[in-house]
């Protein structure tokens, strides 16, 4: 592969960054941690003449949490920082878990949640938990800002609704209600350091009697995009879980997915694993929800 050659820009603030992104919208790329971008450049997969780094833009790496507003993850926040953030660990354990088990130590120290979402791989590990937490992304461009719910963000493998001049500024996640629980489980063949072959995230909110008020389930690596499972969610709402309901809801998750055979796993195995992991995730969510009033 010929060595890629490009101009490297390091804007000092968001304004400059937006200018550069606007100027090079046809042949430029944004760089956060670079853990997706750089391998692609090296493999000669893209024709890029300008790389715009966000790493000198101040404030982008903030992670803030307020009871009322919820969580804001700045686009520069590293996976490792999100994984170890006490607030994230407490209120969004599924996300913290995703950020702590995905990739490798080195990649987690460089890679960002925003990069993971913008890259839009079907297997993106933070996507399923963020979908389950009903996250939205904040996109900015010169003279504008919009909120896009994550459910409307992904449009295909590696594809999303972002415009070329837009920068993802942050990810917003609503505050979880009391008596709720959440979890993320992922599975791959080389247990520890690997891209997920299947990922399942869940969120359950309960009333005082332990009846499910709201259920959200999301899957990764089993369809062209990460996705939610409305049928299973509807099945759970208004119910107290029992083993049969769990099995039926997990089966509904299987119906939601459209897995393929690839070098990582066969479709049959992925379907089976959605069944297994969805069952475990719902159970885990329910148990933490029942325990916690916090």
């Amino acid at each position: 592969m010929p060595t890629p050659r490009f101009t490297f820009h390091q804007p000092q603030n968001l304004e400059q960054a937006l200018d550069l992104v606007g100027m090079y919208r046809t042949n430029g790329k944004i760089l956060a941690g670079g853990t997706d971008l750089v391998p692609k450049l090296r493999a000669g997969l893209m024709d890029v003449h300008h790389v715009v780094s966000l790493n000198r833009v101040p404030g982008l790496n903030r992670i803030t949490f307020h009871e009322d507003d919820g969580l804001v993850i700045g686009a520069g926040a590293r996976l490792a920082d999100v994984a170890l953030n006490p607030e994230v660990m407490k209120h969004y354990p599924g996300l913290a878990h995703a950020c702590s088990v995905m990739a490798t130590t080195q990649i987690r120290n460089m890679g960002t949640v925003a990069g993971n979402i913008v890259n839009s791989a079907p297997s993106a590990d933070t996507a399923a938990p963020l979908l389950a937490y009903k996250a939205a992304v904040i996109l900015v461009e010169r003279g504008g800002r919009r909120h896009v719910p994550l459910t409307e963000f992904f449009s295909g493998p590696g594809l999303n609704v972002m415009e070329p001049m837009e920068i993802m500024e942050a990810i917003r996640v609503p505050s979880p209600p009391r008596r709720s629980g959440s979890a993320y489980l992922r599975l791959s063949a080389r247990s520890k350091v690997d891209i997920a072959a299947v990922g399942v995230a869940g969120f359950l909110a309960l009333d005082m009697d332990g009846v499910i008020i709201e259920a959200r389930l999301a899957l990764a690596a089993v369809a062209p995009t990460p996705l939610r499972c409305p049928e299973a969610e509807a099945m759970l709402a208004g119910q107290k879980p029992d083993p049969q309901l769990l099995t039926r809801a997990a089966a509904a998750c299987v119906r939601a997915c459209r897995p393929i055979d690839d070098v990582r796993a066969t479709a049959a195995y992925r379907r089976k694993m959605v069944q297994v992991l969805a069952g475990r995730v719902i159970e885990q969510c329910y148990q933490t929800a029942e325990r916690g009033d916090a």
């Binding site: 010929p2 490798t104 599975l187 063949a189 080389r190 195995y269 089976k272």
Partner: protein
């Protein structure tokens, strides 16, 4: 046995610091003035005839200095088995046919690697596609297309071993088992991709810096294919980032770099990338194994009929040796009266398989050990017990092969039973957990001279100087296994000087004594160690008289070399420093330097190896019965490598072996479609990482090997053998599913357990 304290010490690698700080120089780090960058054009189809090649556009590209195709070269076939010229089936660049996706067709040298890459795209090749074959079953079927026209039905080599009356012993057996096993290909996955830099020398000579584990073999075969005298080629091994059997042949880029360097008068470098390595590189042999065994009801193994087809890929490479050794490993661990081995090496249209750590043994052991566990279960005998019943012992004879001169196998079995808590844990039987056992034996270098060298198998030259230092020159090559350190330990022990005082020259085929066959077959410590000792003893013979004349002694006294001093054993006051002793010897020799050669070639040691290592391993595994994921919780190993010269190095070998065994058993495999390798990145080729390593406990069972230097045997490849059968057995104990096919992926396991259709 008393030996100098440096023997058995845990001395950190002398090259370790340079490697972990990034200062070690590997071939790709070397830049020669005016150097050109090479690139290889490879066949995009698995099997076909080359109709036409047009390189004119590539040649016309600015910056391109040379383009070569097969027709430009001397077209001399090569292969490691010089003893059997018919087995030499490879050409550096294809001439008439291509036989696998990746077969080298043309090479380019240009002023930058980008230009070289672009030039490749300008080469036009027209192929006539031929039907391709991807399995040994297809290849040996009636009327299968021939990959090499001169082969017998795509079988390139047959090896038979037979002793004892098979029929008779099977008739006596109370239990007969017949099983089929299938094992797959895996990558050596050495960290350093192959790299070679050829520098033209005066008079049509060439110096080749190359990432190899066999500098001598490369020297000979390269000279042969270039059509120049052997000693016109000088091979310099630089630091090598692992080999595992994947770097022990002449390779097309070594030829192309040298050939183009001679043509252009400029240095030429080729460096492969990981995708090339995984797509086209050497691999471990897949095998289709049939095994029939007969046992008496008290667990005695009576007879074994072992039939193996090795999937060799497109060329022989080291396949003939693997075919021989697979048969040998079918009977090396246990002593039984009747054995028949029928091994066939079969061509297919896939990247050639070759030597890989264990060299036919991991495959044979997976079948043999699994079948032994099956027998144990059927006979109601504990799996370790059945091994003790049949275990090889010191003095046992492997018919027509060897006499086992030291063997701690039984002690290893007892030891691993103890350290793993085998009996108690099997009693307790925790759900979804299991304990499995696997054993191994391995050669400490080979006896069979397939390379047909006229020189000794190993050689060393030792020089000593009047500053008390020494210099060791040897062609033996350290590819990361630590022999540079171990050989210096052996010399330090023999001369009684500190290890820091020894300079090592070990890589240069022009400056080190002929020969050394290379780092494979776990041969270096024993063979080169013996050569070092012989040379050192000759030096000592030159020094002892100095002491005698200094103290006016008669010759019956024993002299000791220890602590950088030389003294009379019975009267240690009569001593002088090693430096002074050399100085006086030099004066006596009127300035002629003190130097001596030592050699080693195994003699009267049967057909296979001068010495055999043994060991037993227990794997403790957990299985998630819903996902099929296997976790290895703990490994226990007991190991007889004779006297361990460097304990830390042995432990390093064990850790690496467990890592490789883990991948071989559970996660690594090539996903191939129509001859193309689909998973050619570490993202999709699932090699275990440091994070996946199970904790491991290790016990050494020390024996003394009379043929080994200071009693040492091999500690490199043997350890790579037991892990797959041990884990597979653990999985069986946890799930009830006996896997006869590797790897045990979560999916295969779930299907085996009937949980996935």
């Amino acid at each position: 046995m008393n030996h100098p304290s440096i023997i058995g010490a845990s001395i950190p690698r002398l090259d370790g610091r340079a490697k972990v700080t990034g200062r070690a120089i590997y071939t790709d780090d070397i830049k020669a003035p005016g150097m050109l960058f090479g690139a290889l054009l490879r066949s995009p189809i698995p099997h076909g005839r080359i109709k036409r090649i047009d390189v004119s556009k590539a040649r016309a590209l600015a910056g391109v200095k040379d383009v070569i195709v097969g027709a430009d070269t001397p077209q001399i076939k090569y292969g490691n088995w010089r003893l059997v010229p018919a087995s030499q089936d490879e050409l550096p660049l294809a001439v008439d046919k291509v036989r696998f996706v990746g077969d080298e067709v043309a090479a380019v040298a240009a002023v930058s690697s980008d230009i070289a890459q672009r030039a490749l795209e300008l080469i036009e090749v027209e192929y006539e596609e031929l039907p391709a074959i991807y399995s040994v079953e297809e290849a040996t079927a009636e009327g299968a297309p021939l990959i090499h026209e001169e082969s017998q039905g795509n079988v390139s080599l047959v090896r038979k071993i037979e002793y004892g009356d098979l029929e008779e012993w099977f008739a006596k057996a109370d239990l007969i088992l017949e099983d089929e096993f299938k094992v797959h290909a895996v990558s050596h996955a050495y960290l350093e991709p192959c790299s070679s830099l050829a520098v033209p020398d005066e008079g049509g000579r060439v110096t080749l810096y190359t990432s190899t584990q066999t500098p001598y073999i490369v020297q000979c075969l390269l000279a042969h294919t270039l059509g120049i005298p052997e000693n016109y080629v000088r091979v310099m091994k630089t630091q090598v980032g692992g080999g595992f059997g994947g770097k022990m042949e002449l390779r097309p880029w070594e030829f192309s770099a040298s050939f183009m360097a001679l043509r252009t008068g400029l240095p030429v470098k080729f460096t492969l990338n990981r995708a090339e390595e995984l797509s086209y590189g050497r691999r471990r042999h897949p095998m289709s194994i049939y095994s029939k065994v007969g046992f008496s009801k008290d667990g005695k193994l009576l007879a074994k009929d072992f039939q193996v087809m090795l999937d060799g890929g497109a060329y022989n490479a080291m396949g003939p040796t693997a075919t021989f050794l697979c048969g040998t490993f079918g009977n090396m661990l246990y002593n039984f009266p009747a054995y028949r081995y029928y091994g066939r090496h079969v061509y297919t249209n896939k990247p050639p398989a070759s030597a890989m750590r264990g060299f036919g043994a991991p495959q044979a052991a997976f079948a043999n050990e699994t079948q032994l566990n099956l027998a144990a279960e059927k006979l109601g005998i504990d799996p370790i017990e059945i091994r003790l019943i049949n275990a090889m012992q010191t003095g046992d004879v492997i018919p027509d092969v060897a006499t086992v001169s030291s063997c701690g196998f039984k002690e290893c079995l007892e030891k691993v039973r103890e350290i793993s808590g085998w009996d108690a844990k099997r009693q307790a039987k925790t759900p979804n957990k299991g304990l499995g056992v696997g054993c191994f034996s391995f050669i400490s270098g080979g006896v069979f001279n397939w390379f047909d060298t006229k020189y000794n198998f190993s050689a060393a030259e030792v020089k000593v100087f009047d500053d008390g230092t020494a210099q060791l020159a040897s062609m033996a090559c350290d590819i990361g296994q630590g022999t540079d350190t171990v050989l210096r330990q052996i010399l330090a022990a023999e001369l009684g000087i500190s290890i820091e005082k020894i300079r090592l020259i070990a890589m240069d085929t022009a400056a080190t004594p002929k020969a050394d066959l290379g780092s494979w077959g776990s041969r270096v410590t024993l063979m080169n160690g013996n050569a070092v000792i012989q040379a050192a003893r000759k030096i000592k013979d030159m020094l002892v008289p100095v002491l005698f004349s200094q103290f006016d002694l008669n010759q019956i006294h024993d002299v000791a070399f220890e602590g950088d001093e030389v003294f009379v054993k019975a009267n240690p006051k009569k001593r002088m420093s090693f430096a002074e002793c050399v100085y006086k010897a030099l004066r006596g020799r009127r300035g002629e330097p003190l130097s001596a050669y030592g050699y080693y070639t195994p003699r009267d040691k049967g057909l296979v190896s001068p010495a055999f290592s043994f060991g037993a391993q227990v794997a403790e595994v957990s299985v998630d019965e819903d996902t099929g994921l296997v976790t290895v919780d703990q490994m226990y190993t007991a190991h007889d490598c004779g006297v361990a010269i460097n304990k830390m190095a042995v432990e390093g070998q064990l850790e690496g072996a467990i890592q490789m065994g883990l991948g071989y058993t559970l996660s690594e495999q090539f996903v191939m479609r129509e001859g193309h390798t689909l998973n050619n990145t570490f993202l999709d080729y699932k090699m275990p990482t440091a994070e996946d390593m199970p904790p491991s406990v290790y016990a050494e069972v020390e024996t003394y090997e009379p043929e080994g230097p200071f009693g040492a045997k091999e500690a490199g490849e043997g350890l790579a053998i037991p892990t797959a059968p041990a884990i597979a057995h653990g999985v069986f104990e946890a799930t009830g599913f006996r896997c006869r096919k590797l790897p045990i992926t979560p999916e295969r396991l779930l299907r085996g357990m009937g949980k996935l259709r």
